[in-house]
Amino acid sequence: MEDFLDDGAPHPSTADDLLDEILPEELEWERLVRSYPLPALAVAAAGGFLLGLSHGPALVAAVSSYLAAQVTRRVGEALGQDLGA
């Protein structure tokens, strides 16, 4: 029940926001996924498979470095706040 607003519309989750940013607006991915749930999962899995097969290591490296940078920044901020306080 937490996922739904008072008017009955579902709360957009982080995953929904991410997909909204990644995918083009004209696609209306959410409507497509709700209308054809199993084919949508199959298409997503196939896309992930092809991506992992062709650019897997490069993507893993990019995501790892992004996460490392984020962690470093957060830790730096926390230390800076602590030092400042």
Binding site: D3, P10, P12, S13, T14, A15, D16, D17, L18, L19, W29, E30, V33, R34, P37, L38, A40, L41, A42, A44, A45, A46, G47, G48, F49, L50, L51, G52, L53, S54, G56, P57, L59, V60
Partner: protein, 131 residues
Amino acid sequence: MADTIENGPAEGAESAPEGEAEGVVSARDRFQRLSSEVQSRYQRVSEDVKRGAERASKEIRRGTERARERYGEVADSARERYSQVRERTGDLSRDIAHYVRDNPGRSVLIAAGVGFLVGLLVRAGRRDDEG
């Protein structure tokens, strides 16, 4: 034969047809005995064969009935299992579809992530084979 010689040619000539007749009678008796023996043996053998054929036919019929019953049981059990599997698959499919409708973004990302990992593993496996 000795009597015939001792009693003279006349008596021998009289007794010769009698001996011949006795021989014919005894041969006929022997032939009749043999014939009846052969007939009785033939009857016994034919009865044995008939009984054996009946028994074999009964066994075959019983085996066929047993095989038919067994086939029916196996077919029923297979049909039941198939319907159970179909029902479970249908339930699972409905559950997944329900979850996907409730959480579209998360479901798509999970599916893409699983596909991505499988792709990575396949790529690594290919590299190992080449190396």
